[in-house]
Amino acid sequence: MIKVQNLTKKYGNIVAIDNISFQVNKGEILGFLGPNGAGKTTTMRMITGYMPASEGRVEVSGFDIADDPIAAKNEIGYLPENPPLYDDMKVTDFLDFVAGIKGVQEGRAAKIEDSMNKCGISDVKGRLIGNLSKGYRQRIGIAQAILNDPSVLVLDEPTIGLDPKQIIEIRELIKQLGSERTIILSTHILPEVMMTCSKVVIINKGRIVLETTLGELNEKLDGDNEIHLKLEKYSSDIKAKLSALQSVQNVNDLGSGEFIIKSRQRNNIGDEIARVVIDNNWGLKELRPKLNTLEDVFLNVISSELKQ
């Protein structure tokens, strides 16, 4: 469980993180989104105790990271933005070292073996880290994070640098781990959030601009519906007739028989539009709902901040 309360970070007069609060419970996977420079990494560094907060507090599994750092850090597995690897160590030596500093005593070899298998790095276990590709380095970073079987995982861009197959594997791994643990991960890959996370927080310029569960998010995405309409015939009164419909908010005439119709309410008005088109014999060529993606929500939320 991660509890962030009124967390603030100031560098002199510059406020990098402005009074943010959120919570992630056991069994939840939080997707932490935001444009570059929004404060995702800074927040994660404060959660893991690498950086001190200017104000506010962070509680991890019931331990305050500032008052009880050792107890809190025992519960955390952290993958920073740049995987913390010693280039001149072999993979197994490095993981052994990490096991040591994380206090993994019994069954160390087994745990190391297990982490390597889970991350798919067993085949390079005897090699020097400095010689490995980015994908392997990234996965070693994940392996060290899960090594001590922590109850809380903080992952900063976990799938970056991985090829599509590896990405799927790591996402699966995260989902598996998430069922028993608390996970917060940051990413730029929006579909990834939809696939793995149960909660979403979007941060911009140090402030939280959106906090929602996946369920609420899906509703929101399904809601603002647009219908993309293509007709054979074209006449100037079609737009007027469509706009006149009760459930239509506005009609955008793109020319050459193409229209984008925005619906007033939350449900799909495709049926209604189709009926009108057929009744009027306008020649239906294409009727397609234009669904909002998370990208649209993201950009919307970010740009509304810019306007303020």
Binding site: T48, N82, P84, G103
Partner: protein
Amino acid sequence: MSYFVSPIAYIVLLVFTVLSGVFFFIYLEGFAQVQFDTRAQLFQQSFSLTEFVLQPYFGTISVLLLLIIPMITMRLLSEEKKQHTSELLFTSPITVINIVLGKYLASLALFILMLLFSSIFVIVLYLKGNPDPGVILSGFMGLFLIGASFLAVGLFASSLSQNQIVSAVISFGLLLLFWIIGASSDAETSVVGYLSIINHLDNFIKGVVEVKDLVYYISFIFIGLFLTHIVLDSQRWR
């Protein structure tokens, strides 16, 4: 778990490069000393191995340590920040004390290994000739202490900068400062003389183990490590 050891790989690499340099110098130096001795024999009625070989040798080693130790220690903490591994160290359930001690003891282990290698020559000398064994023991004790002090300074310097060269320069500067501070005075007679790190070695080389010298070195080490701890800890409050 009281401490952790720095990356083994780089220690091993360092051992070989550093030792070969030290050993080479020692061998040459020692050999030159012995050459000098045989010629001196013609001019003197009696001479002692102890005076003509061991003691200058110990003195020379301490100078070598002054030069080499900053190079060993410069990596200790500077690299961590650069390689982002400090992010791992400071988010793991280990205290800053663990980190400081761990780094220090690792470098100490390397240093002891260096001393052992350099002692081979002395042991051979002991077997072949008859230098004063007391001097041998106290001499190495003194070298150990002065080296350990150098390491503490080096570690502190390393905590101050991300850049290895800067760390090396700072530690070298500090060590020189403590070396020449009492150049004209004696540890016995003045405060300034007491502060000089090299003056205390003299007694050990002579075969005398005095409490005040021990106290000096131990305090020195302690202060060096303490300062390192403060520097690292202060990063928590930035």
